[in-house]
């Protein structure tokens, strides 16, 4: 994983972002995934998004579970703390971390085995708590590290590399998130960076659980003809319904789109996400219609992508817990310990 190091020297002429960092300063160790793995493209999109947003890397914490996808936090933001936890249970770790220190920007990276099988319950409850995290599900429909078993997102009828057909229904991460009340639901394709980068940026600025399901073909075990998570299949059947454009805080919105099809949503941190409807009847702020539309296109074998749903009023974990603005980790002991005199006083009720 991280034992291969990349040179950190870079050319002085490289473009810098608002805090003076070049894109390479958002990179991590060299990937050890298979050449052509969709996950590496997602990593590149994540790097691009953080760099464009000029987020100081050390103010980020990147968490993951176990599996190919969960290795990827080692490949971006080397100056961010990383936590490669146990299989499927990253949502619990990030919930605790976020409760403790709300000033950190959290990104969780997971896979379909991690999120939709072993850790499905944890994912559901992290969505319900609306933990402020960008949650990227790198979805390839297959268990790669154990060499090609079906995952819970494998579509019925799709075949494994060995030709075996999957007989069970698939769990669709986006539909699941919508039904659980997720406040930000998107779907991307690892092969479409232009769509993915603004989506990640919007997710990072969203106050609450931002769920992005990214179809990410597994070149070794799931990129063959019978697969519904292959590059060819996804490219052919990808229906983009909403193009998201992200406008950071303090940047003016320019009107390059036809106003009739553009909808701007103000995010908590003051930035804007602009949604351009590609499909006519699509409304990305109507949960039920979003759900119905995805189901409808699924029947036709189509994969709906884009920012599928966003709730403009999202109340995250900290609002629900009514916690103070200061991160709990920074509260001085004097504010936490009532002291000996109070202890003496409060024991009156135990007499």
């Amino acid at each position: 994983m991280t034992y291969i190091s990349k040179p950190t020297v870079h050319h002085p002429a490289l473009q810098k972002n608002a805090i003076g960092l070049v894109r390479r300063e958002y990179e991590g160790a060299m990937t050890t995934l298979c050449a052509g793995c969709g996950h590496d493209s997602i990593t590149a999109a994540i790097i691009q998004a953080f760099w464009e947003l000029s987020i100081p890397p050390h103010k980020v914490a990147k968490l993951s579970g176990i599996g190919c996808s969960s290795k990827t936090p080692a490949y971006f933001l080397r100056e961010a703390h990383g936590f490669n936890g146990v299989h499927g249970r990253m949502p619990a770790l990030v919930t605790g971390a976020n409760a403790a220190n709300r000033d950190i920007i959290y990104i969780g990276v997971s896979g379909d085995g991690d999120s939709l099988s072993i850790g499905l319950g944890h994912l559901c409850h992290a969505i319900r708590r609306n933990v402020n995290v960008l949650y990227v599900l790198e979805n390839n429909g297959v268990y790669g590290l154990t060499k090609g078993q079906f995952s819970a997102s494998a579509d019925p009828g799709s075949t494994s590399k060995k030709g075996e057909a999957n007989t069970m229904e698939a769990i669709d991460g986006a539909l699941l998130a919508l039904s659980l009340g997720a406040t930000f639901v998107a779907r991307g394709f690892s092969g479409d960076k232009a769509q993915l980068v603004p989506m990640i940026k919007a997710g990072l600025s969203h106050q609450g659980f931002a769920f992005i399901d990214v179809i990410s073909p597994c070149v070794t075990f799931n990129d063959h003809d019978g697969s519904t998570k292959s590059y060819a299949y996804t490219r052919e059947r990808n229906v983009e319904v909403v193009q998201a454009d992200f406008v950071p805080h303090a940047q003016a919105i320019t009107t390059e789109y036809d106003p009739g099809t553009v909808r701007s949503v103000l995010l908590h941190d003051g930035s804007w996400v602009r949604l351009r409807k590609v499909a006519d009847q699509y409304d990305p702020t109507d949960r039920d219609r979003a759900y119905a539309f995805i189901r409808e296109r699924q029947k036709h074998g189509e994969v709906v992508t884009g920012l599928l749903y966003i709730s403009p009023d999202s109340s995250d974990l900290h609002e629900q817990c009514n916690t103070v603005a200061t991160p709990l980790t920074q509260l001085p002991h004097e504010q936490l310990c009532p002291g000996s005199a109070e202890l003496e006083k409060l024991q009156a009720r135990f007499r």
Binding site: G82, V86, P91, A92, A100, G121, H122
Partner: protein, 598 residues
């Protein structure tokens, strides 16, 4: 001859009828009379209807262990009459509700029967089903006050404290007390030969359960994140913590919370949240019981190996599996000591009563952060949920949390590079950093193989170097955990070793054995890994009795494994039926072993 301030009685009722407040009232009144008292709540895993009992022991010598035989039974639940009548000692008393006749089969010639028409009197005085049932229970408290000579002024004062703001409720409660009191006085020779007389032995004491005390320890130690999944008998720990936080942890200007309590989807997530919060730098904890620890095993291995602090309270109940959720046991000693797959060893603290639950709770956070590892505080249902009389809690205001080796931004500025698992001073503990503090502090926390720099490894030597250092680190914690309590007697060649809540039964048993001329030294272990004193004690005695509450002799196993003491030197004395241990269990166990040896 009257027996003053030294007897036990038991109240049998049905769950959900409000008997808890009556029982609490009686306990508290005795306590306010200055008389040492303990109460044990024997309750079912049920919300309403099943039998429930409350046992009160009055002991002027201050003994707190359970007595399984009762001088007086307040038998108010016909469903358990047969069993309840059988539990009264010969020559004792049985009080019952004489609104209905008692079946002839329940009459024992060696008991005195006290029939009080509680239902009849309360039905006449009160209206409404609910009030009648509730007041019937308060009325038996009144009768007991007369029979046992409980100070009625104190009872009145207690009712006033409780219902002072609700005069109507105060009035009906007082009337119910009077109904019972007056009837008993008029119809029986009050007080009975078992009776109370004021003492001055509780002035500096409190009545508190261990879960509440542990919650106070968490509050005082500065815990800010609590994650949990409800489970008997640990639930009241988090509820108490929440109650204290609502009072002491609100930012005055905004009414916002200086804490976060997360009710998780399961115990796995609860410990995951604790590890995540501790990793981010908060003091975090989870209260649970055996089934919860079983689920947490995977994450505990991660915290051990990746060296992340975590504090767990295991309020033990009777296992295995669901077991008897409302009965007590010490069945998790082995599991907690070595939780998770692979080689692990965890710091464990074993409080014997609520006072130690308070102190060890606070100590657990320091140990967890200093040694960067999970720390278990093992209590049990008896300590956690029952009211114990303990000396008042105190707090040293000079206390500051020991955060262990956490590098600040300034310290990170100074260093050239930071390596998470590099032991620079040879104490086995390596410096850690928190997210968001400094770009140089970044590292990858992982449960996969890692070398001393924190990098991923599959190299055998690099792996061994790290796990060996962790082993040394945990072994060093033996010197930091609370030392065992030792009590020696001149000429004693035998020892008695115990842990946690068995303490009460052991000290009483040792007093009785000493009075019979048997000198036995005593050691109560309070922390794991065991310190040198533990091995020395076992070494210094010809043989030691190991007293504990589980079937397999888990403490004895741990002592053999960890100190290398020979099996022949450790005689096992066990009781594991789910009730708190009694002195007689210890005495009969010790005597049986001695007879066998002779």
């Amino acid at each position: 001859m009257p027996r003053t301030n030294d007897f036990a009685f038991k109240i049998a009722t049905a769950n959900g009828t409000g008997s808890a407040s009556a029982n609490g009232l009686i306990m508290q009144a005795i306590f306010r009379m200055g008389i040492p008292v303990t109460g044990k709540n024997v309750f079912p895993s049920n919300i309403q209807g099943l039998p429930t009992w409350y046992e009160i022991r009055v002991s002027q010598k201050g003994y707190t262990a359970r007595i399984p035989e009762f001088d007086l039974m307040v038998a108010l639940n016909p469903a358990t009459y047969v069993k309840d009548v059988a539990e009264v000692r010969s020559g004792g008393w049985l009080m019952y509700d004489s609104s209905w006749p008692l079946d002839a089969t329940l009459i024992r010639q060696d008991l005195t029967y006290i029939g009080i028409p509680l239902a009849e009197m309360c039905n006449a005085r009160f209206t409404g089903m609910r009030e009648r049932i509730l007041m019937k229970n308060i009325a038996y408290a009144g009768a007991l006050a007369a029979l046992l000579q409980i100070d009625s002024g104190i009872v009145r004062a207690l009712l006033k404290e409780k219902y002072g703001r609700k005069p109507a409720l105060m009035e009906s409660n007082q009337q119910a007390v009077d109904i019972g009191y007056d009837y008993a006085t008029a119809n029986f020779d009050c007080p009975l030969a078992i009776r109370l007389a004021p003492l001055e032995k509780t002035a500096d004491a409190i009545l508190i359960d261990g879960n509440t005390a542990a919650a106070l320890g968490c509050l005082y130690a500065g815990a800010t994140v609590g994650a949990w999944y409800p489970i008997t008998p640990a639930t009241s720990l988090m509820e108490a913590f929440k109650g204290f936080c609502q009072k002491y942890r609100q930012e005055p200007e905004t009414n916002r919370n200086r804490y976060a309590i997360l009710q998780a989807e399961d115990e796995i997530a609860a410990i995951g949240m604790v590890i995540g919060a501790s990793w981010a730098g908060a003091r975090a904890f989870t209260p649970t019981s055996g089934p919860g620890i079983s689920l947490m095993n995977e994450f505990l291995g991660l915290a051990y190996y990746a060296e992340v602090p975590a504090v767990l309270f295991d309020v033990q109940r009777t296992g295995p599996s669901t077991g008897m959720p409302t009965r007590t046991q010490q069945g998790d000693l082995m599991m907690c000591a070595y939780a998770s797959h692979g080689d692990t060893r965890h710091i464990c603290l074993y409080p014997a009563d609520p006072r130690e639950a308070f102190e060890f709770a606070a100590a657990a956070f320091d140990l967890a952060e200093r040694f960067q590892t999970p720390v278990f505080v093992l209590t049990d249902l008896d300590i956690g949920m029952n009211d114990w009389m303990i000396p008042k809690l105190s707090w040293d205001d000079s206390y500051r949390p020991d955060r262990g080796k956490v590098l600040s931004a300034e310290q990170l500025d100074e260093v050239r590079t930071f390596s998470r698992y590099l032991d620079t001073d040879g104490d086995g503990i390596t410096a850690r950093t928190l997210p968001g503090v400094h770009p140089k502090g970044a590292f990858f926390t992982r449960g996969s193989g890692h070398n001393r720099f924190g990098g991923y490894t599959e190299d055998g030597d690099e792996y061994v170097e790290v796990v060996d250092r962790i082993d040394r680190k945990i072994q060093r914690a033996a010197r930091a955990v609370p030392a065992p309590i030792l009590q020696t007697m001149p000429g004693a060649r035998l020892g008695l070793v115990t842990v946690g809540g068995c303490h009460a039964a052991c000290v009483e048993a040792l007093d009785i054995l000493a009075a019979e001329g048997m000198a036995i030294d005593y050691m109560r272990v309070r922390g794991f890994p065991f310190g040198e004193e533990v091995a020395r004690f076992l070494e210094a005695h010809e043989a030691s009795f190991v007293v504990e509450q589980n079937r397999d002799g888990q403490l004895r196993n741990l002592l053999m494994l960890e100190t290398g003491t020979a099996a022949e030197k450790l005689e096992s004395v066990r009781y594991y039926g789910g009730f708190p241990m009694s002195a007689h269990h210890v005495i009969s166990g010790v005597k049986a072993k001695l007879e066998k040896a002779a």
